[in-house]
């Protein structure tokens, strides 16, 4: 049987962690971080947002992408759960619906790494219409 983990074991991991964080902080500024919000209200949880969130946290860490993954409430797209909002540094956030681990992988590889849009975007079209009106375009 392997040893049961305790807080003393966490203490031993500390130095290792500290150097890892120092390394990361040297490489880029906090503004350079990707921020992902996973919708986790009743609707999201019931549709499997927990698995998606765990997948994102693990994979982004494994693939060395500096990101913050956090929870948010219901964004009003209950029909398209699980939904996630991805904000690349300096860009408008994009909301993706029907996210499973397969699509989450696609979002990491295509959208976060290469800024290619991936299927499943929930458009915020009301914003574009307003903008167009104000700008007098089209």
């Amino acid at each position: 049987m392997t040893k049961i983990k305790s807080l003393a074991d966490l203490k031993k991991m500390k130095d290792n962690l500290q150097s890892k964080i120092a390394l990361r902080e040297k490489s880029d500024s906090p503004e350079g971080r990707v921020i992902i919000k996973v919708a986790m209200a009743t609707c999201g949880i019931a549709s499997g947002s927990k698995e998606v969130m765990e997948y994102l946290v693990d994979e982004l860490d494994k693939r060395n992408i500096d990101a913050i993954v956090t929870q948010t409430g219901c964004m009003g797209y209950c029909y398209a759960e699980p939904t996630i909002e991805v904000a690349l540094p300096g860009q408008e956030p994009v909301v993706y619906g029907y996210v499973d681990t397969k699509r989450a992988d696609e979002i990491i590889e295509k959208y976060i790494r290469n800024q290619e849009l991936v299927e499943g975007i929930i458009p915020m079209n009301y914003q574009t219409i307003e903008k167009d009106k104000e700008g007098g375009k089209a």
Partner: protein, 176 residues
């Protein structure tokens, strides 16, 4: 919801929305007395007596406020289906305590599920909230206080992926 752990994730969300700074999550498995109990205690904004009456009704509550909706009715249904009940005590400005009791051996009691994963998600997403987790399983008793974890870490953020993974493994080790 397939697992009780997912209900806990959902109910704790209410506490977070209520602005709680301390959230206690207790799981009690007592096979001797045939009781399986989940308790979520918070020091959030609390509810008026009228609201306490209404939160268990999905139709009255779901559109009047975002703080409640299907979450509590679903858990209540789950508890009642397994020979148990749901109890909510709340005081405005003081906080809320929610308790869901099940018959331990009832065939309709969902399994607890991945409580370790749920705790690591809650802690990781809300590093400023103090979580106190206690799990009693017959004679076993395990507790985890995020204040102790923060003290141990001496400045390393508690929401580092590796720390969260450690928390997940530690809980799993203890409640096996």
């Amino acid at each position: 919801m397939k697992e009780l752990a997912l209900h806990i994730l959902d109910i704790a969300q209410n506490s977070i929305t209520a602005g709680a700074e301390n959230i206690g999550i207790n799981v009690e498995e007592d096979e001797g007395n045939n009781v399986f109990r989940i308790t979520v205690i918070d020091d959030g904004c609390g509810m008026s007596e009228e609201m306490v009456q209404r939160v268990t009704d999905p139709y009255v509550t779901s559109r009047t406020t975002r703080r409640v909706g299907m979450g509590i009715p679903l858990l209540m249904h789950s508890a009642e289906q397994a020979g148990g009940f749901l109890k909510i005590e709340s005081k405005k400005g003081k906080g809320t305590t929610l308790e869901a009791t099940f018959e331990h051996n009832h065939i309709d009691r969902p399994e607890l599920g991945d409580i370790a994963g749920v705790m690591s998600i809650l802690i990781g997403s809300n590093p400023d909230i103090r979580f106190q987790y206690q799990h009693k399983k017959n004679e076993q008793d395990f507790s985890l206080d995020t204040n102790d974890v923060i003290d141990t870490l001496e400045g390393i953020p508690i929401n580092e992926p590796e720390v969260l993974k450690f928390i997940r493994e530690m809980i799993n080790d203890h409640i096996k």
